[in-house]
Subunit: 132 residues, 6 copies
């Protein structure tokens, strides 16, 4: 446990503790160090930096993962994370729709399918997520 790791864990609690907890648990038997890096570098180093609020950071991540189109599990985690830090569903949908311009309609369609799944899961849990 070092300072970067602790800072990363605190940041993760703000975003999506459960989802990342699952990822870290899944890595324990195959690459435990990578689980540590995942907490330390993206969350302890990058997301903890001043200069860009968490709302904008989640907008950026949802945009990038939708555009790349090859990281569906991570896109779903970060759509959930966007809800957690206060992005509205409408904002998330808008970001994904906008990706049709930069990465094509299939990327946006697949991103919308991911959002639909995440939104439904949130509702099933009775979570009161941000209203549209």
């Amino acid at each position: 446990m070092n300072e970067r790791y602790e800072r990363g864990l605190r940041k993760l609690t703000e975003i999506d503790a459960e989802a990342v907890g699952n990822i870290v648990a899944n890595l324990q038997d195959i690459a435990p160090d990578f689980a540590r890096y995942l907490v330390e570098f993206p969350f302890g180093d990058i997301y903890s930096r001043p200069g860009l609020d968490l709302h904008s950071r989640q907008i950026a991540t949802v945009a990038a993962l939708t555009a790349l189109g090859s990281a569906s599990p991570q896109l779903k985690v970060h759509i959930g994370g966007a809800l957690s830090v206060g992005c509205t569903r409408e904002e998330i949908i808008e970001v994904i729709i906008q990706m049709a311009v930069y990465a094509g309609f299939p990327a946006a369609l697949n991103g919308l399918a991911a959002a639909k799944e995440v939104f439904a899961r949130h509702e099933a849990r009775g979570k009161s997520t941000s209203s549209i």
Copy 2:
């Protein structure tokens, strides 16, 4: 001239009239209809939608184009556009740095090189861009 085109042109004036003007001019002799689509769909339809402010839209676009890594000219236009709609240089740099997490260090390095070039060009023009 239709409603979508006019709405797109107004939106473009808020973002980066000069850069997009150059793009549209370059298309006149080879694909003038595509110049029209470029105004109508991305700007007249998408960027003109409510539900996400222009600041967040530019954050999303800079993120996606940095992550994709294959559209350097368009990334530069939208870094300029991000400055125009009020993103600070610090916010732009943060978005690009964050892409190291999602698309790798080379994508972030090439994004930072693009930002450096755009910032320098803005200074050379004596434009008072957003302060860090």
Copy 3:
């Protein structure tokens, strides 16, 4: 209902009314405007343009989606669409095989798996698709 939308719907009927109908229905509760854009821009604007016949347009789309490798649901829709507009199975297979040259053997292998699934579904429906 505007002119672009109506033209797009007519074009879609030529390509794959059922598949796109499903996509549009799926979008109704999450992003109904995007369903409209999907009809208007790709099909009302682009596919309706003169200068390239639908046969060549489907060849181009199957090639691109096979090469990108990140849009499997859309690739399957457009393999079905290629059959609908008169491409033979042999032509579709040839396009996908050719992508081994430009995007690698895995892209072609995954494209062939998609084609196999679409061809089998067409046969199960008793559709007399183009013979090889």
Copy 4:
């Protein structure tokens, strides 16, 4: 000199002997075997197959390389090749525009810039390429 190589060379003569000749020459001192593979596999094996005419093959290649967006030199060669096998400029432009739907507007814009350059070079050489 084997049968595949000879068949590949004949096919290349139909497409763009000069451009591929340059590529092969460039490879002689660094990877001469790869120059041979380039003639044998893509052109001796794939492009020589029946079942898809050269016109459709060039449509497919221009589509894929525009969509991938990371192979500008090869896209230019194949835009030239498309002209050589009888694709009109209009058809080439249509294929590239269509890629905005599947890979985003930046991919199409960069593809159009490549086409503009190739068309200009053809005109400078006094070649009477296919008219629009």
Copy 5:
């Protein structure tokens, strides 16, 4: 049966005869020639070249397929192939972790999930794979 095909089959026996056998069998009814190309070019031509040992070739392939992120079935085949040619599990994990630097954390996470699946399958078969 030609020389390249026979050489390719021998090379495949060293890497992962079963997995590639399945792929070739799957192609028989849809694209039998592509099954032949798959043996001839990648394995008969490329993997059979001197100058790079099979261990390094599998390191390179696992790296590339992890980074591309769009060819999960082929990545799994080549993780198995890496074990077959004597790469240790530790080496495979290290290569995949390293891809976080070049293609982002999601690419590495999805690569690790693929490795976990392949390693578990190998253990279930009672194969004594390379120890970590």
Copy 6:
């Protein structure tokens, strides 16, 4: 100066001190923290791990960057780095050629062009790089 940074710098000296020094210098005025991350995470954390030797790590990186095709400056740095850690030119060429199988011929061709440039630069400097 922390332990990870120092370890990263030592590792970089083994790979390509000059090239990375230039990158770090270029970042000083725009994103100095990113220069620090670049030393700390890829080189202080990842490349310094046991379990995979530097030779294999450079093979993996050259493979991935050739396959991705969108990071030409970084590919050149790591081709130079591969020479520094003892990869022969022949091994580097083999890795790049192999990428034709996984990412297509254009990716391999552009990788070979990068290698040609790096090899020529090394010769011009009178460096006795690894012999073929």
